[in-house]
Amino acid sequence: MTKMITEKPITLIGGYLGAGKTTFINRLLNSGGLPSRTAVLVNDFGDINVDEQLIRSGSKSDQVIGLANGCVCCSIADDLTSALEVLKSSAIERVLLECSGVAEPHRARVQCHYPGYYPHASVVLVDALNHQQRCKDKYVGTLVAAQVQQADLIVISKSALNPDFCLQTLQPTIDADDQDAMEVVLGWGSDANHGHSIPTNLAPSFFTQTWQSRLPVSLADLTQRLEDLPGSVQRVKGLVATDAGIIEVQRVGTDTQLTPWTQPPHTAQLGLVIIASAADDLASIDWAS
């Protein structure tokens, strides 16, 4: 499935109110790491620091455009559509779209099939401090859970305030405070497995694979396998049943941590997510036996 080079990828930044979308976007804008010719569509200008300096010199086509909340009774005055129309014929090469806090990634994604664009990835921010509580909220509990379920990549924010926070999910997860969090988000592609990468020279692309074992493996074997992973593997995360009980695996770069799972076994969703910057390397990981 090759896409025409002229189509612009849209990365959706979702997550409930307070999940840190605005902080994250501000960091992107301030970091200098935002590739040139990126348009940032924010849900409301509110807390986004849009000043001349952020619209960085040398890349005049960078744009931050504010969107009002979706229209109520009809779509005749639809800000997103108008923004996409305007950007279509511009030199913009990619779009970051901040979703409203109550948007479901699936529904927002539909909008990104607009002619001239394609949805690149749904990134959802999850607030380590309040997520668990919010999932029980009678008004937004289902919504918040659905946002996580529909994400291609999850970014955990505020984990410093709640170091024990752990999201029981097999989706690729990174921490907002990771050194390379911005790079990972910008490079993330939901269709990465099809060998598609976004047209930019600045951000690398990332690929992901999940591994699940039906039978327990030996702890020694697991350790060995992790050591043998190719260098392009950036992250490994998840839970594995071993002869020494359920083990939680956390690996960032070459730093691997294995911790015994102390909570009730039935709460553990078994499986490992492996994130690498080279698709071929992922394909060569053969853990099947």
Partner: protein
């Protein structure tokens, strides 16, 4: 100069004198209601004329629709209607078309009526009645006259090749997965925005929009209204709308006044903090003219559209397990409500499902604890699904209800099958309970969501008959007396105009709706067929053919 209106009967909606036979008016204001012989003291020293064209008629207080959308209507009304339900429009009654052949026949007739290059816009198509639509089907009938068929819900449309050419749809741009089926000429959800963006030069063209507002003016008069509420002023654009409204809905030939209630989220668009909302709303008061009034009212939004099954429901939710949508993040809704509550505003919140309603009531409860207010007029708009327990809460918190009762007529049958099941579908628009609880309750059309015909709303509220003829939730029906009160005095309370209109008594404006039949004594099934003879706005007669 005084004018003495005589009638077969005057229904005053003033409990202290429910009936009379005459109304005496000076300079657009009622000076006395009652029997002509009691008016002698006024007439003794002043000149007067007797207006006797209503002696065989029944005078009611001028009807009020407290929630409709002139700007939306202006977009829709220039289009041709082919609908499964009847729509009584000033330029002709739209007879229901309930099958595919009928739809095609009417599309053909409309097509030949238009000149060759004038595009044809049709609104009201629904697959349930009219069968599957496609570009080929349109072309069979309308050939290469540019033709757009818009779905009843507004959320999808079909075009023939000529229409796609006209607006500049580029087939090569369209790829699979984007909710456009170019073969069928079908644009929906994500793809709809693409189509609308290209259609806007036609549907929002200033002359079209102006013509649409002129038609709206006729619709409002024809429905017998003397007052309406625009319940989301600014939905497209504040200054453009305000300008157009003052051009078309102000002036001696306009037989009604409009309460303008600003769209709260648009007002603070662009990151303005909610605390500044009241200040911005206050500035709108500068724009007021005789017929067009902003007041200290604001419109806010809770859950999604009722017609699209996006209302947020409490358990057990929808049969197919999908869930609704929030139009505003709950915490943000609370911030908005808080700032207007503390500024003393009357807040109108769009609520459609019982979960959306519960959220709104919980916030209202919080506000009452923070800063107790009496007579605050907090209004629940639309009021699709509710529970009996919520009725008590509404009553205890001092809120009022403005219901779109037409949901029950058009949707209760299909929501029984594909939606929420019979029990809850039959209890949409729980109006009987509201009246029994003493809640100030009115009904509205949300035009163009439902016909702007107060007598039709009254008919639905009294009979609770759905479109297949079943009576739904009979104990939630209200009496003709209550229903007439809903479309007059109670509506006036909801839009904050009960001091000047809504009933017929000394001191109020002379706003009347003059009927051929008595709506309180006729067969309730005939309510929607009562002929409206004329309206009177501030003492000026506006006849209806």
């Amino acid at each position: 100069m005084l004018t003495l209106y005589k009638a077969r009967s005057v229904i005053t909606m003033n409990e202290s004198m429910p009936r009379a036979t005459a109304v005496l008016v000076r300079d657009g204001m009622i000076v006395e209601v009652g029997e002509p012989e009691h008016m002698e003291p006024w007439l003794r020293h002043q000149e007067y004329v007797v207006e006797d064209q209503f002696v065989e008629k029944v005078i009611c207080p001028g009807f009020i629709d407290p929630h409709l959308h002139p700007s939306m209507a202006a977009v829709l009304l220039p289009m041709e209607f082919i609908t499964a339900m009847r729509w009584k429009l000033p330029w002709g009654e739209v007879e229901p078309v309930t099958d595919a052949e009928g739809f095609d026949r009417r599309m053909g007739a409309l097509s030949t009526k238009k000149s060759v290059d004038e595009p044809l816009f049709i609104w009201g198509y629904h697959q349930l009645w009219h069968g599957p639509m496609s570009r080929a089907r349109i072309e069979d009938i309308a050939g290469d006259k540019p033709t757009v068929v818009w779905h009843r819900s507004f959320h999808e449309l079909y075009m023939n090749a000529a229409a796609m050419d006209m607006v500049g749809v580029v087939a090569a741009e369209i790829k699979p997965g984007m909710q456009i089926d170019i073969e069928r000429g079908w644009f929906f959800e994500g793809g709809l925005g693409y189509a609308i963006n290209r259609l806007n030069p036609w549907i929002l063209a200033p002359d079209k929009y102006a013509a649409g507002l002129q038609r709206l003016k006729q619709v409002v008069h024809h429905g017998g209204h003397t007052t309406i509420g625009d319940l989301a002023t600014g939905m497209f654009n504040f200054s453009a709308e305000a300008e157009a409204l003052s051009q078309h809905l102000e002036g001696d030939d306009v037989p009604f006044r409009t309460r303008l209630v600003a769209h709260g989220t648009v007002l603070t668009k662009g990151g303005v903090p909610p605390q500044q909302g009241p200040e911005l709303a206050e500035a709108l008061l500068q724009r007021n003219s005789h017929r067009l009034h902003f007041g200290r009212h604001i419109k806010l939004f809770s859950d999604g559209a009722f017609f699209s099954q996006l209302a947020q429901l409490q358990e057990p939710g929808y049969i197919d397990g999908h869930h609704g949508e929030w139009l505003t993040t709950p915490e943000i809704l609370e911030q908005h409500i808080r700032s207007y509550w503390h500024a003393g505003y009357q807040i109108h919140v769009h609520v459609t499902g019982d979960l959306g309603l519960q959220l709104t009531l919980d916030i209202l409860q919080k506000m009452q604890e923070e800063k107790p207010r009496f007579n605050h007029g907090f209004t629940l708009e639309h009021f699709g699904f509710s529970t009996p327990e919520q009725i008590r809460q509404i009553q205890a918190l001092g809120a009022q209800v403005s219901a779109n009762v037409y949901y029950l007529h058009e949707l209760s049958d299909s929501y029984t099958q594909n939606g929420i099941g019979y029990e809850r579908a039959s209890q949409m628009a729980r109006l009987g309970s509201c009246f029994r609880a003493g809640i100030n309750t009115t009904v509205h059309s949300d035009f163009t969501m439902a016909p702007a015909e107060p007598l039709n709303s009254m008919w639905v509220a009294v009979n609770r008959i759905n479109h297949v003829g079943d009576v739904m939730g009979a104990t939630e029906a209200i009496t003709p007396q209550q229903a007439l009160q809903a479309i007059t005095l109670n509506a006036a309370h909801v839009i904050g105009m009960a001091d000047i209109t809504g009933s017929i008594r000394a001191g109020k404006r002379a706003d009347f709706t003059v009927l051929d039949e008595d709506p309180l004594t006729c067969d309730p099934l005939d309510l929607r067929n009562i002929n409206i003879y004329a309206t009177v706005f501030e003492g000026k007669v506006f006849p209806l053919a």
